[in-house]
């Protein structure tokens, strides 16, 4: 086993907490079950790693095996990376081809290797009908840099691709490889970005609102009314219920997909009815950059109107985030 491979495996295993190690190693499926049973996970981490390295040495682990281990680790800790979303599109006249996984893989690899000669490309398919691709980039003259790879998650039969956004130089090449291999025509970056890959999936495939439709309709209106504070008197109750109803309509009853931020780049003129005359003569817009950040952004936005901090209905700029599949916006005056 190569020194670099040993070092790479060591560093990858080092990042895994001991509690998860067994699951990761089983998923990796490189070392057989009986050998894994012999490892004592209660000792110090360095000893566990030494033992594992010995086992890998015996089985002559290659760089591809190490890369697969890296993919498994990333799959377990996918929220540690920030994911970008791309959408591919076909030409209007194109046929809908049957997707052939092997053809896709070989075509993808070929494109990258032809361009850069030194790349490590690894694939891993999962049960959720997704294929994880790991690319370690090198050039014609340098070996691939294994510690700064790019991860791509592709769903065959859909035009969506998710990449971990460390890309700088090779993004066009990656886009080319994906479009050619999947027989699409072009690829476009969407203004959607988050750590939570599952939420991005839900937004991209518009699946977030399909949860438990039946459950909601059985809840009668009276019960929902009781959810309001009993101290609220009648006059305010009507208004509160109106706000609740409008919030339900814009956000729905289902759990919201999880995003951490939304960013708006505003270039709109300043207009104010109350403070008339301020900046009236100024033709240029106010250039603002507004960023909303929260551990669970859409939940927080949903709670603003009922709390009285925002008007109901909430601004369409905020409620359209899952529908438009964007969380980066550029707003200009019409």
């Amino acid at each position: 086993m190569d020194e670099t491979v040993a070092e790479f495996i060591k560093r990858t295993i080092l990042k895994i907490p001991i509690s998860e190690m067994m699951t990761v190693l089983k998923a990796w499926n490189f070392l057989p079950e009986n050998q894994l049973q012999t490892i004592n996970f209660r000792q110090r981490k360095e000893s566990v790693i030494q033992h594992l390295l010995l086992l890998c040495e015996e089985k002559c682990a290659s760089i591809n095996d190490a890369a697969l281990l890296d993919i498994v680790c990333t799959q377990v800790h996918r929220h540690k990376k920030i994911w970008d979303v791309f959408r591919m599109s076909k030409e209007p006249g194109d046929d809908v081809d049957l997707f052939d996984m092997n053809q896709f893989k070989s075509s993808f690899k070929k494109v990258l290797q032809r361009a850069l000669k030194n790349v490590t490309v690894s694939f891993r398919e999962t049960e959720e009908n997704e294929v994880w691709i790991r690319v370690a980039w090198g050039t014609h003259y340098t070996k691939p840099q294994q510690y700064k790879p790019t991860y791509v998650v592709y769903y065959p039969q859909t035009p969506y691709v998710f990449t971990s956004s460390r890309l700088t130089r090779n993004i066009t090449l990656l886009g080319q490889a994906l479009t050619i291999a999947s027989k699409h025509h072009e690829i476009v970056k969407m203004d959607l970005r988050s750590r939570y890959l599952d939420s991005l999936k839900a937004i991209a495939f518009q699946q977030y609102n399909q949860v438990f439709e039946i459950h909601n309709s059985t809840l009668p209106l009276q019960e929902r009314r009781l959810a309001l504070d009993s101290r609220i008197i009648h006059e305010n109750r009507v208004e509160k219920e109106r706000v609740q109803r409008i919030t339900q309509e814009s956000f729905g009853d289902y759990p919201q997909p999880q995003l951490e931020f939304a960013q708006y780049k505003l270039e709109t003129k300043f207009k104010s009815d109350v403070n008339g005359g301020i900046l009236a003569e100024r033709k240029e817009p106010l250039r603002c950059l507004i960023k909303f950040s929260s551990p669970h952004l859409l939940d927080a936005l949903k709670s603003l109107a009922p709390a009285g901090i925002a008007d109901a209905p909430l601004s369409p700029l905020l409620t359209c985030i899952p529908k438009k599949k964007m969380n980066y916006f550029k707003i200009r005056d019409k």
């Binding site: 709109t268 005359g277 900046l279 603002c288 507004i290 936005l301 603003l304 901090i309």
Partner: protein, 386 residues
Amino acid sequence: MDSYDAPELTLRQSAFSRPEGICATPLQKRLESVRKQTSSVPTPPRRRIPQCPQVQEDVDPQKVAFLLHKQWTLYSLTPLYKFSYTNLKEYSRLLSAFIVAEKQKGLAVEVGEDLNIKVIFSILLGVKGTQRDPEAFLIQSHSSSPRLEYSGMSLDLLGSGDPSASAFQVAGTTDACHHAWLILSKSQFPSENREGKVLWTGWFCCVFGDNLLETVLEDFTCLPLFLANGSESNTAIIRTWFQKTFDCYFSPLAINAFNLSWMAAMWTACKMDHYVAATEFLWSVPCNPQSLNISYAIHPEDAKALWDSVHKTPGEVTQEEVDLFMDCLGSHFHRHFKIHLSATRLVCVSTSVASAHTDGKIKILCHKYLIGVLAYLTELAIFQIE
């Protein structure tokens, strides 16, 4: 200079005639005036002259440079009893010994490492508002060279054999402040000539503190503003020493949203040749269960244009103008997002001049307006003391 000082003095005195920080309702104002037995006409809105860069002759930009671009934690300080500017060396010695003693109180591991903390007091020239203000002074705490081979004991205790790995030494690197008392201690190693890393810096100053100076007695030195950069434990130790030696009292200076909005308005009003940063506000929204933060950054030229359109009285900044400025920002935001910023809490304000956080943290970015920023902070500190 005197003609500049005088109107400002009277204005400030009237400013302190009613409690700061209260956006008084008409009822409250009337109650106040009744209590003071003045007429029932509401008191005029606070006026404040924006900082001008003219009191800067003594300040050498280079010396001031290390005060900038660092985050300082603010404290207000009651007057120091029997503090003398001539005993700086003595104070250096005493404070070094005190720090060393405090550090040795705890674990045995620290023995042998911290014996060479140097504390140096020095005067910062020029960081003051008027001639009446006392000189500011700077305290810096340096570590000695990390090579502590002379003390075999320390190597054994640490076990890893690396005496330089001490939490104390990785504390912040700050330079001496000009205007604060700079405390530096000298190493006892005969071979060591280098000073070692700066671990902690703090400075005391008073800028335009005339209100307080008038009420203070002979033996007291009035330096109400204390800024510290470095680890919290060091700050606590140095505070304890000062409290014991000079019978004073530190309290953390928090900046409420009202003052943050004043700062934003005043700093936006400053004329700058070039802007290094956007004017940025950070609001924290109290929603349940998730927290939400809104960051609202405006291009500095647009912010200045908005301010110029709001600003009517030359040479002064009034309460109404500040309110109108913040209101305009809020309504522009509301037009797009339908969220009322007035229902949220302003937490942080950042401009090309300086940036301030509600927890009492400040970072000054522009040396031209250093005195102006300090003047406002001194006023807040004095208000807190009273």
